[in-house]
Symmetry: C2
Subunit: 341 residues, 2 copies
């Protein structure tokens, strides 16, 4: 049974939960183990939060349209977003790069320059760098390390009924950007002299190629003294994220279609591409925004935080995972498993 076919839906996370059973936790310093955005280790004072991400060429990125410098920036964003998804502050990353002889030193330097650029933005140090050879594909591994006061840590578990579901930023723009890039790639394959026309699409391409780490949100939550009751990163769309919070918290939810934050540009571009924008927001992925739940009492405080939208609320478990559409119909929210690995 191939791994990716193990279950039709949400298979990866079920599989990880199943496999994790063979790994008991022994050390007292282990605070959070397998099954959240990152692991948490107690070090007497602050907690150390770590997460490792692996990126394989042609599975996670396509070098025909991804510049190496952007790729470097993005892999760091992706890795440290898992730290932010625990309401922790990223502090360090370590990097492993496996390259074949298709890549010269200049190419590796481009990649690392992109990584450093994102690290500068996020005030993160690169403290480890290892190189190895690969047969063909470029393989990049980024381990992100962060710190968190124990009282600030937020896992996927902890959401209670009637709490508000918040997300940062906007959605589906990165997915729209990906569709545009894939479309132009196909044009190029047929007609190599064709020049891509991305006029006015800068924002969509930037969201796909060079997503920004949402350090501002984690800092704002501290500044406004809002402690999320549950929290997670959103790498694979809103649907997978809310289902992870609900499952870990043993709750249900209702999200409002009209509250899902999308830019006008994403909306119109997806319409031109014949894609339902709500589906793209729920399941498109690559947004790297944050989702968190807050107590209703924190509503006044969260209004002061820029770039945060309240998209629904937590219900009891039996309510399931529901989207309330614009015409007031309830539909089931479904995650898409793990396409694009």
């Amino acid at each position: 049974m191939p791994i990716e076919d193990s279950t039709p839906q949400f298979g990866k996370y079920d599989l990880i939960a199943e496999l994790a059973k063979c790994f008991p936790i022994d050390n007292a310093s282990t605070v959070v183990g397998i099954g959240d955005d990152a692991s948490v280790i107690d070090t007497d004072g602050n907690q150390t939060v770590t997460s490792t991400k692996v990126f394989v060429e042609d599975l996670h990125f396509d070098l025909t349209y991804v510049p190496l410098k952007h790729l470097g920036y993005k892999v760091v964003t992706v890795a440290i977003t898992d730290i932010l998804g625990m309401n922790a502050i990223p502090t360090q990353v370590t990097v492993n790069v496996a390259v074949s002889n298709r890549f010269d030193l200049k190419a590796v330097n481009e990649l690392l320059a992109g990584m450093e650029s994102c690290c500068e933005t996020a005030h993160v140090d690169v403290v480890g760098l290892d190189l190895s050879t690969s047969r063909k594909e470029l393989i990049i591994t980024v381990t992100a390390i962060g710190e968190c006061e124990p009282s600030r840590l937020a896992t996927r578990k902890g959401a209670s009924e009637n709490e508000l579901v918040c997300v940062s930023g906007d959605f589906a723009a990165a997915y729209a950007g990906l569709l545009l890039l894939e479309r132009e790639k196909k044009v190029f394959e047929v007609n190599p002299s064709a020049q891509p026309d991305f006029t006015g699409m800068d924002y969509l391409l930037r969201r796909q190629l060079k997503p920004e780490p949402r350090l501002d949100i984690v800092e704002a939550l501290r500044r406004e003294d809002v402690q999320p009751t549950a929290m997670t990163a959103i790498p694979d769309g809103i649907a997978a994220a809310i289902m992870q919070i609900c499952r870990a918290s043993e709750k249900g939810c209702a999200l409002f279609e009209e509250k899902l934050p999308l830019t006008e540009l994403a909306f119109t571009t997806l319409k031109d591409l014949d894609i339902v924008h709500t589906v793209a927001a729920l399941n498109g992925g690559d947004d790297y925004e944050l989702m968190f739940t807050i107590r209703q009492a924190d509503y006044e405080k969260i209004k002061n935080v820029e770039n945060v939208s309240i998209i629904g609320y937590i219900k009891d478990r039996e309510a399931g995972y529901k989207l309330i559409t614009g015409d007031n119909v309830q539909v089931d929210i479904q995650a898409q498993g793990f396409k694009r690995a």
Copy 2:
């Protein structure tokens, strides 16, 4: 210029040092950055030590003769050996596995069972597990996390003239085991009905397929209150390890050929295979032992630690890196760069 051809010798480490220049260190919590076995982060109390290792099928391991359970054990040993190489105690690991549909769930379970077995041996928790798909090769990433009292931390830098060079365990057995396995693989390719004959070779195969983490050494150093002045893991043979300590410490060394610890079995097997045993000990690799330097005043204490050999001493930088042969000839020690990635 392909990466692996960049310099004829010691190329990988020079290259990493060069590339590391684009990564300045900003955070006060960063104690040790790029260029040692692991990175070190200060967390008010103990220090957190982390290292990430990537293992790619057919580059780092060959599944035609490596059982998945042994592979799981070995990758954990390799990763936590970098923590031990800082004189720190490994506490947690996180694991990423990228599999293609060549592997079924049973295969993944075998691999994880091997990881868990090594984690049990070393009292380490698996706190992160992520799966993704790969196109063909199995790709395994292990991030090891450990802790260390600041006064116990030992980096590659710090060795002084006349200090003693110590190593744990014995050498060249893993390399001899690899040669036997490769030889039988070739026999099998010519005659698939041939049965490998490894009678009496168990120790060599075990050293190659299932190396043990040398937690005992790090614990013994604490018990005997010996603080190494410099320390490193030995993944790529004695030569690369001593050169790393000498370079970081800006010193030279003299090692004695007759003091290099080899088992009788490794010695005779290498002789049968027409391999010079000293070369195998210096450059064979895959030993995953530890090297450290100690003050002469600690000589009496180190004699109480089992499985430690004194193989030479530190000299001034101008002395270079010398091996004193059995017939009292001085030869230059040379590292082999990074074969087997």
